[in-house]
Structure formats: C-alpha cells, structure tokens
C-alpha cells in the first residue's frame, strides 16, 4: 500500500510541471503550442527545449507561445518573435542562411572529402595488387632455403 502510494507520488511529480500550467481551451491550439515549445531552446539550460525544462524562463516562454497562438499568430510568427529577442540560438533548427552554411553543409562536406580519400586509397591499392605475389627466381630460392632450414632445425 505504502509502496503504491510512493509510486503514485513519484508519477505525479513527473506530471506536475505540465499540469500546473494553464492550457489552451482549443486542443488543436494546445497541440500546436506544445509542438512549437519542443523546437524552442530553453536559453538558460543549454540543451533542453522549453517544453522539457522546468526553468522559470521556460515557463514564461511556454506561456508566451500559448498566448500568441491563442491570439491567432502563426507558428512562424511566434518563432520570429523569439528570434528577434534571443537570436537563432533559440531555435533547435537554425535557419539555412549564409552564417549557418558551415553548420548545415559542414558534416556532409567532411563526409564527401573522407569518402573521396577512401575511394582513392582503394583504387590505388587495386591498381598495384600483384606486387606481393610475384617473387623472382632468386627470392623463390631463398624462401625454399629458409623453409628447408626450418625443417632441419625442428
């Protein structure tokens, strides 16, 4: 009984931040607000979205998102509102523009360069495959001699 109560208490704690907030009456608007909150970074907690964070300022931003959606703003308008104040940093998906080209293209460019390097390496290896296999007569004799010697020694 006690354990059951403890489990319920812990589950309740997990739900508390979400339940404590005033939600929008229209479930579709509420869903939009929640989806949008997931792509907005909590500016004080580095790698958490505003939807996941229990920080005070994250609560405020969630309230602002709800308020603006209730006022009929589009998702993009809400994003613009926050970017004007906190910069692109506030979005988990930074926009594709000159200052973020390295961010978006960089990994693919590195992959491409690495791929070319690997391809060159294997092509070169394929171009000179027979080198090890072919021994001249002198070498063959040496090998034979060495193998013989081992037999004797053993």
């Amino acid at each position: 009984m006690r354990r059951a109560l403890a489990v319920i208490a812990i589950l309740w704690l997990g739900l508390a931040p979400a339940l404590a907030e005033v939600q929008l009456a229209d479930p579709r608007q509420e869903q939009r607000a929640r989806d949008l909150s997931r792509e907005i970074r909590c500016v004080v907690c580095q790698s958490q979205s505003v939807a996941d964070s229990d920080a005070d300022i994250a609560k405020d931003v969630r309230a602002i998102v709800r308020e603006q959606i209730a006022a009929g703003r589009s998702d993009q308008e809400v994003r613009d509102y926050l970017v004007a104040r906190y910069g692109d940093f506030v979005l988990f998906d930074p926009p594709f523009k000159a200052s973020t080209y390295v961010l978006w293209i960089g990994p693919f460019a590195i992959l491409l360069v690495a791929g070319i390097g690997v391809a060159l390496f294997f092509r070169r290896r394929a171009a000179e495959p027979a080198r090890i296999a072919e021994l001249d007569s002198e070498e063959r004799e040496r090998v034979a001699r060495l193998l013989d010697g081992r037999k004797d020694g053993a």
Binding site: V43, V61, G87, G117
Partner: protein, 178 residues
C-alpha cells in the same frame, strides 16, 4: 597535387584544434551569447514605477542620452554583489542607470534599495518578467547600454564587477558615445 593531399589530414587536424581551442577556453562564458538586440532599437518599456506615486517608467524621458538599463531583483544574490558598481556607474561615469525589478514583489525591491541605497535614475517593476523577455535576458543581473538614438549597443550578462566595469563596460560606453 599528391603532396597537397598528404597535407589534408594535417589541415583538418589544425581546424579541429582551432575549434576545440575556442570551444574549451575556460574563460569563455557560455551565457555570453551575442544579444540579438545589439544594433537594434531598445524594446519599448512601459512599466509601473517602483516608487509609489511616481510616473510610469518609459524610455522616452531618457531619449537623447546614453543610459544603462539594469535588470535586478531582491532575491538575486549576484545583484547584491554588483550593487556598488552600479553606484559607481552613475556617480563616477555620469551614466544614468534605469533599474527594472524583474519578477520581484515591489515591496521586496523597495526594501532591497532602502537597504543598499538606490543607484537608479528611475525604476520600474516587471513582475510578469515580460519586459525582461523583450530584452532577451536569460537571467539577472543583466545590463544593457542604450545610446542617444535609442539603439542597444551593448549587453552584459551577469554581475558587474569593478574589473568588468573598467575593462569591458567603460570601453563599451566610449564606443556607444561615438
């Protein structure tokens, strides 16, 4: 051409070293994000005054001069620490400082200023924290410089120390006055 190819891994490592060098700099403060507001007009401020009976706080009455805007609260310990520096900013450098009590009960902010002294030319209360978000603050204390044309020229996040005042804020003020 082939020689150049051999240099490629070294170049890649050099770039990575440079990135890590910057990224792992212990002096680098992750909270010092470049403010999106710098170079833009200061957000509108229209807040109830902290002092009872005083007119509402707006930036209009400070147009035409360089001002500092400081977000503080009585519950904020670093605000207490930076308090003497704010006084210095007004008395030594002659920059009016506008105080905005962020998410604080007005009685508590008033008691805070009564205890430590009031360095502010004018003070407003932002109980909802909405004006703070308009300024893009991530916490308090934060201090902004707004030039004579109402443009935000500088943002300082965190408590102002005497060193920060002389090394960072004073040059920023000089720049803003140009």
């Amino acid at each position: 051409m082939r020689r150049l190819l051999y240099l490629l891994p070294i170049a890649v490592v050099a770039i990575l070293v440079a990135l890590f060098w910057i990224g792992l700099d212990p002096e680098r403060d992750k909270s010092m994000l470049p403010s999106a507001l710098v170079g833009k007009p200061a957000p509108a401020v229209d807040l109830p005054a902290l002092a009872e009976g005083a007119p509402r706080l707006t930036l209009d009455s400070f147009k035409g001069q360089l001002v500092a805007i400081n977000f503080f609260a009585s519950w904020c310990l670093p605000c207490r620490a930076e308090h003497p520096v704010l006084k210095e900013l007004t008395t030594e450098l002659g920059i009016p400082v506008i105080g905005i009590a962020w998410k604080d009960k007005p009685e508590a902010s008033r008691a805070f200023l009564a205890e430590l002294g009031d360095p502010y030319a004018a003070t407003g209360t932002d109980e909802s924290g909405r004006t703070g978000i308009d300024f893009g603050i991530t916490g308090i204390p934060e201090t902004f410089l707004v030039d004579a044309n109402g443009i935000v020229t500088y943002r300082f996040a965190g408590p102002l120390s005497p060193e920060a005042l002389s090394d960072v804020l004073v040059p920023a003020i000089r720049e803003a006055k140009k």
